[in-house]
Each structure stands twice: as structure tokens, then as C-alpha cells.
């Protein structure tokens, strides 16, 4: 029987309540903790060979018969008005088949609010001809004064939403009782996602059905966006994404390029590809917005945090959302008195988008650096300070955690932390070495609705079918492992079909560290349904009771010692198939499902030049049961490497007078290379969350990037005594912080440490 339930769903820290129907399946107990036959064993990616050999067809590789290529005219100004737009010369060009302006497509605008806003578009048979034709569009611009300073926007109340206020306890009274109060202003920069496959879509009308091939993190979200914008029934839109070249949060919706391609496909009657160039990608597809964080902490002399306060300004850009920069301050510690005030400044800058733990990466930098400044004032060990302020249950809404092993993470961090005397002793001349740490809190519980089917053929091989997407995180492999475990099959006998909204049931977004915790339980439940049917068939064929039969090692096994190859049982059906179906159950009622961890960084700083090298990062995270330790390790390494880029080299630069984006290309925007990577040590707690689903797995995509910047900056302080206050830690910022530390020491009359 279908069961209707009301449940809470969280994505990227945003909660919604919704009704969902879940299949009334016999409750499936979680597997015991620890590695199993397939789940918990390291598995190379099932789609690794196709990807490595260049055989995987990405959206970038989709070529349909008769396909045209779009090019987009974008605003060169941060704020302007199109006084006149003349498309006639472009229309008359013999190379051009389609031309659209703001009257033809809702994402095109005649009042651009940021450099790169789309204004018009053309389609031609050849991408070069399309780009050349943009010069035939005549625009009369009226350039307007842009608003670029987030503090000024707050003063002028140019905000995306009303300021967000939060308070618990009595913050003012608590600060008055504190033995020590520290305060600081931290700033973080704007960071660009730079997935190597840019945003792109290929759209084609097939009769009255619209096909959308798109590089996306959520094919169902694209379907909904397009259905709403075009007022079409949802099932008249088919969204396809088989292989996908990275997203990191920037590809959660249909995006402008899809609507431009649809409008041009409708106008020309031909399939149209709209693929952004790298430079367009770095203008118009989202970013991790800059923040300003004025934060304050008060503690008793024993290290007990009595009060935390933060004022946060999110420099959101023209469109987007004001993210939870306040989140770590409210959630990480067991502090009774907390007050935050958050502004989402509306600026004439490109829109933001979710970027791998949005808000929490930025907020953790401010909070965890402040905690180390507090530890220094208190002359208390930073790890001890964090242990003393451990939150035993969630103080935001008083709910217990579904599971929390942060103290175990701290315990496992001790040997890495204990190396700091030895690391400091390796300081050599101008190169000073030190160790720093930072804690991590983030979501990652996933939720319903998410569905999967499992099909077992006469040959005893299985296929998982679900219309999810694998954005490169290895979810095909994890889903195959879960189904193989439940069916007692070796991994190579399970295949996964995904990436097509017309060929599989509804599936979760691949964002918010939710793919495995949302989809994994649905796949397990579908596989269990198939397994149950196989046992029922075998019981009838061999005249045994169902309860004595199970599936193991590709065989149906009887408790009395008998066993038969699976294909002998399913082979009775010849070309008939066993179809199992499964749904993701609800999240545990009244519980807070979160991920936790800590990272310990070793750095070396050249105090003469300000050069910084991150030499080692140990990452200990609690994300529940680990499905694939090999893929999990890669996720952690990847998150940390993005974190190192965020900390040391990446920054979108804008001309402060005009709002013109200067860092559009990959020589100007500094991504980490293989030469910038520290030694990374990964340690996952791997204890299933006993309250969360039939798996006990949480998400892993985002937690590893959360504490990296703070751990590195705290290590810099350990090495040099300098308080870095803004990201990225450029040479200028490092030298400024070193000079300030020298001045402070001088004023104190103490011998300068550096």
C-alpha cells in the first residue's frame, strides 16, 4: 500500500516541508557496520573506462542532425539600458538562421544588471559564423552608474530580502560576563566554479515534445523550470544528461542557455546548441559570492564559550540568494547565547549560485579563525577549546542529532595535531612552519522523493534504472554497489541506467551532498523488492520455505546447504524479467541530520616574500556509512584541493569603477594545478547513522571543502603569529598580516617572533 507522509526536506541548508508517498515495504534493517561483500569495499568507477577513453558522450559531444549553434550578445556594462536594439542586419545575414531579442525570450534583457547579462542571440550552422554575426547586432546603450560596494548597498537597503536576524539566549548579558572577548572582521572573495564542461544545452522539438540535452546536476529540476517557463505539461519535456563534466553547485537549474536554445529551436525548427565559452562561463553562470563578516566571541577563562555574535554581508550580485554564512556560528558549538544579522546585498555584479557548501565555507573561515584567536588570548590549546564547547544536541531548534561522531573525529585528529612541535621545529630561515585545525559542520542527509527500479533478467544480471544523474562523483558506481550487495551479486553483474527523465523514475538533485543519502536507500529498497520476488519464485520451484532462502555470491542459497545459480531461478522466466521498485523513505522525525569533521593543516610560510605552501592536510569526517572508500577518498581530496584554491589563489577580480569582470580566462583566474597539491590524509569514521534510512549513509561531496581555509589560516598563525583576515591569502595579505604581527609584538615590548 502506498503511504502518504509529511516530511522535511533540506537542500543546501534550505528547508521545505512536503508530502511524499512511499511504498509500504517491509522495513529493511540496516546492514551491520563495516565493509560488506561489495558495499564498503573500494571499487573503481564502473564508468571509468568510457570516461578515460573519451568515449563518454557529454552534452558537449551531442551532435544532432541539422543542429545549429547559438551565440549570445552580452552586456559589456555592469548596469545599462538598451535604448535601441536593431536585429535587422543580423537577420539579413546569409549565415544566420535565427535571431532573438528580449521580446522573444524571457532570459534576454534590455536592462542588464551585470557585466555578461544576455541581451540577444543568433543561430547559425557553424559556431564561428554565429559568433561573427553578433557584430551585426546594433545596440544603442545607455550606460548607468553601477552599485558595486556591498556596504554601500546595505546602507542604501539594496537587498535581496529583508535582513535575517537570529538570536538565542541573552547575548549582551553573556558578553558582559565573559572573561575574554575577541572580535575581528574577516572577508572572503568571489570564487568561480569553473567546471571544465561549460554550461550548455542542446534543444530539439520532436513533434510536441521538447528534448533538452543539458549538462546538469538535476534533470528533473530542468524539466520543472522549462515546464513552468513555457507553460507545458511536464511530460512533454524530456531531459537527458548521461555524462556530465562537473557542476559544483552551478548547474542546478535550466539556466539561460537552455531558454535561448529553446527559443532559437522554436524559431528555426532545427535543433540548437547553446554552449557557453569559458569567458561567458566566468561571467554569467554563478559564483561563490564575497562576504564581509564582523564576528565576536566571548568566553570564560576555562574556555567555555558564553556568547557569539556575527554581522554578515553577502555580496550576492544582481540575482541569486543570500546564503547561510551565519550557519556555522549558530550550529557548530554548544554556545547558549548567539546573535547573527545577515544582509544579502544586491549589486551590479554577476549572480551567485550554490558552490559546494555555500555559506558554510565562508562562515567557517570567519568562525574557526576567530576561535583560534580566542584560543591564543586564553592561552588554551585550540583542539581543547573545541572539545570543551562540543554541542551535545542542536541548539538552533533543540533537536537531537540523528548521529554525531565529532568527538571521535577530534580524537583521531590528535596524532596529526600532536605533530606540531616537530613541524614547527622544521622551520628553516625565512621559512616558518606550523599546524592549524578547523572543525566542520554541514548538512548532507538528503531526503525523499527519490525512486529506483531494479530489473533482473533471465541471465541473472541486474540493471538499476533511475532518472538521476552522475555528475562525476561516482554515483553510478555507488548505486551498483548497493544493488549488488542486496542481490548477492558480484559488482560486474549490475549495470546502472540513468540520465533520462523519460526512461526512469523521479530522482534527487545531485547537490547538497544528497545524492547517495537520497538515492542509495531507494536503490536498496528496489533491489530488496527484486530479491524478495526471486526468493518467492525459488521457494516454489524447489519446494522450500521462503524464510530459509537468501541470495549470496550469485546464487540462491538455502539454510539447509543447498544452492542454485541465480540464473537457474530467473532463467525459468526465459525473457521475462523480475521488476523491483523502491522509494526513499522519510528522514527521522524530530532529528537534525548533519555531517561533521575536522581538518589539520601543515603549512610553510616564507616571511620575507609572503609565499605560502600547504604541505599536508589530514581530513577526518563523519558522514555515516561509506559505500565506496575509493571514491570517497577522491571526493575528500577533491574538496580539499578546491579549498586550497579558495584559500590561496582563486579570486574573481572586478574593475571597482565599472564592474567589468577582469578574470574571465583560466590564465587570469588561478585554479590549483597538480603542482599545488599537498599531501592529503583521509580518515572517514564510517559508522552508519542508525536513524537515517536503510543505509545510514550521509553525503560527502561538500563537507571536505568546509574547514580547509580556516585550517590553513590557523596554521599560518601557528607558524608566524600573523592574523590573516581575508581570502585569498595573497602575498599582499600575508605581508600585511606579518607586518601587523611585528607591530603588535613591538608594542608589547616582546621580542618579535618573526
Amino acid at each position: 500500500m502506498a503511504r502518504l507522509i509529511r516530511t522535511e526536506k533540506e537542500v543546501e541548508g534550505r528547508y521545505t516541508e512536503q508530502w511524499v508517498v512511499v511504498e509500504e515495504d517491509a522495513a529493511i534493517d540496516q546492514w551491520p557496520a563495516g565493509p560488506r561483500q561489495t558495499v564498503g569495499q573500494p571499487a573503481p568507477r564502473v564508468d571509468g573506462p568510457e570516461r578515460a577513453r573519451g568515449q563518454a558522450i557529454f552534452t558537449a559531444d551531442v551532435a544532432l542532425p541539422g543542429m545549429l549553434h547559438a551565440a549570445v550578445l552580452r552586456s559589456p556594462f555592469a548596469r545599462a539600458r538598451v535604448k535601441q536594439l536593431d536585429l535587422s542586419r543580423a537577420r539579413e545575414s546569409k549565415w544566420v538562421l535565427g535571431v532573438i531579442g528580449p521580446d522573444d525570450c524571457h532570459v534576454l534583457t534590455s536592462e542588464p544588471g551585470f557585466h555578461g547579462a544576455p541581451v540577444a542571440a543568433v543561430a547559425a550552422a557553424d559556431p564561428r559564423r554565429a559568433r561573427e554575426a553578433l557584430a551585426l547586432i546594433d545596440v544603442e546603450w545607455e550606460e548607468l552608474e553601477p552599485l558595486l560596494d556591498p556596504e554601500e548597498a546595505v546602507r542604501r537597503k539594496e537587498l535581496h530580502e529583508d535582513p535575517r536576524r537570529y538570536e538565542r539566549g541573552d547575548v549582551d548579558a553573556a558578553f558582559a560576563t565573559a572573561d575574554v572577548v575577541v572580535e575581528a572582521e574577516y572577508r572572503t572573495q568571489t570564487v568561480l566554479h569553473n567546471s571544465l564542461e561549460t554550461h550548455q544545452s542542446v534543444c530539439r522539438w520532436e513533434g510536441d515534445t521538447l528534448e533538452v540535452y543539458i549538462s546538469t546536476q538535476w534533470i528533473w529540476g530542468v524539466r520543472d523550470d522549462v515546464a513552468e517557463a513555457l507553460d507545458l505539461p511536464k511530460d512533454r519535456i524530456r531531459v537527458i544528461c548521461n555524462y556530465m563534466g562537473g557542476g559544483f553547485g552551478a548547474k542546478n537549474g535550466a539556466h539561460d542557455q537552455t531558454f535561448i536554445a529553446i527559443a532559437l529551436a522554436s524559431q528555426t525548427g532545427r535543433p540548437v546548441r547553446c554552449a557557453l565559452t569559458r569567458r561567458e562561463e566566468n561571467l554569467a553562470t554563478g559564483n561563490r559570492n564575497a562576504t564581509i563578516q564582523r564576528v565576536r566571541a566571548g568566553a570564560r577563562s576555562d574556555g567555555t564559550l558564553v556568547a557569539l555574535e556575527g554581522e554578515f554581508v553577502n555580496a550576492v550580485g544582481w540575482k541569486g540568494w543570500s546564503g547561510p554564512t551565519y550557519g556555522p556560528m549558530e550550529m557548530l558549538y554548544g554556545c547558549e547565547n548567539v546573535r547573527t544579522l545577515t544582509y544579502g546585498a544586491k549589486l551590479n555584479l554577476p549572480p551567485n549560485a550554490a558552490f559546494r557548501a555555500p555559506g558554510f565555507v565562508e562562515g567557517t573561515f570567519g568562525l574557526e579563525c576567530l576561535l583560534d584567536e580566542l584560543a591564543a588570548q586564553l592561552e588554551l590549546d585550540p583542539l581543547e577549546l573545541r572539545t570543551r564547547n562540543h554541542a551535545d544536541n542542536d541548539l538552533v531548534d533543540g533537536r537531537p542529532y540523528s548521529s554525531k561522531n565529532l568527538l571521535e573525529c577530534y580524537r583521531r585528529a590528535e596524532p596529526h595535531w600532536a605533530r606540531r612541535d616537530e613541524v614547527r621545529a622544521r622551520s628553516d630561515g625565512a621559512w616558518r612552519r606550523g599546524v592549524g585545525l578547523a572543525s566542520q559542520i554541514w548538512y548532507g542527509g538528503g531526503g525523499p522523493p527519490s525512486y529506483a527500479w531494479v530489473r533482473v533478467g533471465g541471465d541473472g544480471n541486474a540493471m538499476v534504472i533511475t532518472a538521476m544523474q552522475d555528475i562525476g562523483t561516482g554515483t553510478r558506481t555507488a548505486m551498483a554497489q548497493i544493488a549488488a550487495e542486496e542481490l548477492g551479486l558480484p559488482l560486474e553483474r549490475v549495470r546502472v541506467s540513468l540520465g533520462d527523465s523519460s526512461r526512469g523514475p523521479y530522482a534527487s538533485i545531485s547537490a547538497g551532498s544528497s545524492t547517495t543519502p537520497s538515492m542509495g536507500p531507494a536503490v536498496r529498497s528496489a533491489a530488496a523488492d527484486a530479491a524478495r520476488q526471486i526468493v518467492e519464485i525459488a521457494a516454489q520451484r524447489y519446494h522450500l520455505e521462503e524464510r530459509v532462502l537468501s541470495l549470496r555470491d550469485g546464487r540462491v542459497v538455502s539454510a539447509d546447504g543447498g544452492s542454485w545459480p541465480l540464473e537457474e531461478v530467473t532463467g525459468l522466466l526465459e525473457d521475462g524479467q523480475i521488476l523491483g521498485k523502491g522509494a526513499r523513505g522519510p528522514n527521522p522525525t524530530g532529528m537534525q541530520v548533519l555531517t561533521f569533521g575536522i581538518q589539520v593543516a601543515d603549512v610553510a610560510v616564507d616571511i620575507e616574500t609572503g609565499e605560502i605552501r600547504v604541505e599536508r592536510i589530514a581530513a577526518i569526517h563523519d558522514v555515516g556509512r561509506v559505500i565506496n572508500p575509493l571514491g570517497a577518498q577522491s571526493q575528500v581530496e577533491g574538496g580539499i584541493i578546491q579549498g586550497v584554491g579558495h584559500t590561496l589563489s582563486e579570486e574573481r577580480l572586478v574593475d571597482p569603477a565599472t564592474g567589468f569582470v577582469l578574470t574571465q580566462s583560466l590564465d587570469a583566474y588561478k585554479l590549483p594545478t597538480i603542482a599545488d597539491v599537498p599531501e592529503i590524509v583521509v580518515d572517514l569514521i564510517d559508522i552508519p547513522d542508525e536513524h537515517l534510512t536503510n543505509l545510514g549513509s550521509k553525503g560527502l561531496g561538500e563537507p571536505p571543502i568546509v574547514p580547509t581555509a580556516a585550517a590553513i589560516v590557523n596554521a599560518i598563525r601557528d607558524a608566524t603569529g600573523a592574523d590573516v583576515r581575508s581570502l585569498p591569502v595573497s602575498r599582499e595579505e600575508m605581508l600585511r598580516a606579518l607586518a601587523e604581527a611585528r607591530e603588535r609584538e613591538k608594542a608589547r615590548g616582546a621580542p618579535a617572533a618573526v
Partner: protein, 146 residues
């Protein structure tokens, strides 16, 4: 303008306008889409192919300048042991940069079958990976003959 290209041991006769890049030629008329274009201006390495064994950026190589040099693309390295090494070491996530990584790595191990970590970091620094598979790539190149 007609020209003849030798790619992965086979000759192709094609028409290409002046100004067309090697990457556009491979991916367009020849359908060899294993070579990826991620920046289109020579900054990221995703489009790396070999010309007579030397890694070059095909997105900034004009096709008419290739001449008689042998082009090796990822399709020509289908059975190279590095493919298996990359998969074993989990040296790919989304996989968009991976063909370029393998083409660069193949040129490296051809010249130096057992490169040091320093040599690997030097030789591979031009191939960006946003997913951050670098530690695994280093491992794959160190274990490719296993």
C-alpha cells in the same frame, strides 16, 4: 582548403577553412570527440593531443599547420596501460579533463617510464582538473606498468 591528416595511424582527407583549429577538426568533421575543449584558448590542457609524440594544445593549433606530423588522440590510446591505471587509481571524477591528462601522461611515460613525483608535477601542471583528482593522477602515472 583540402588537406591530408594522419591520425592514430590512419590517413584522412578533409576540407577545412583557413583558421580552423585541430581540435575543431577532430571533434567536428572527424567525429573524434574524445578530445575535449574546455577553455578554447590554450589554458587548461583538456584538448591535448600528440604531434609526433609531443603533447600540444589542439585548440590553439591551426589544422593547416599540422602538416605530415602524426596526430595521436585519446582514441589512439584506447589500449594504453595508462587507461587502466587511471581507472584503478580513481584518477578521474567527471572525466572531462581525463583524455587530455592521459595524452599528456602518455607522452611523459614514453620519454620517462618511471618519472619522479617532481617530474610528474612538472609535466602535468598544464592539465587542469577542477574535480581535484591530482593525487590520484600522480599515483596512476607512478603505477601505470603494474
Amino acid at each position: 582548403m583540402a588537406l591530408e591528416l594522419r591520425i592514430n595511424g590512419t590517413s584522412y582527407e578533409i576540407e577545412a577553412p583557413v583558421g580552423q583549429t585541430l581540435a575543431e577538426t577532430l571533434r567536428g568533421p572527424l567525429g573524434l570527440t574524445g578530445t575535449k575543449i574546455a577553455c578554447g584558448e590554450g589554458h587548461c590542457g583538456a584538448c591535448t593531443v600528440q604531434l609526433d609524440g609531443v603533447p600540444v594544445l589542439s585548440c590553439i593549433t591551426l589544422v593547416h599547420t599540422v602538416g605530415e606530423r602524426e596526430v595521436t588522440t585519446i582514441e589512439g590510446l584506447h589500449d594504453h596501460p595508462l587507461v587502466d591505471a587511471f581507472v584503478r587509481a580513481d584518477a578521474l571524477q567527471c572525466g572531462f579533463c581525463t583524455p587530455g591528462q592521459i595524452v599528456s601522461a602518455a607522452a611523459l611515460v614514453e620519454a620517462e617510464p618511471a618519472p619522479t613525483p617532481e617530474r610528474i608535477r612538472h609535466a602535468m601542471a598544464g592539465n587542469l582538473c577542477r574535480c581535484g583528482t591530482y593525487p590520484r593522477i600522480e599515483e596512476a602515472i607512478q603505477t601505470w606498468r603494474d
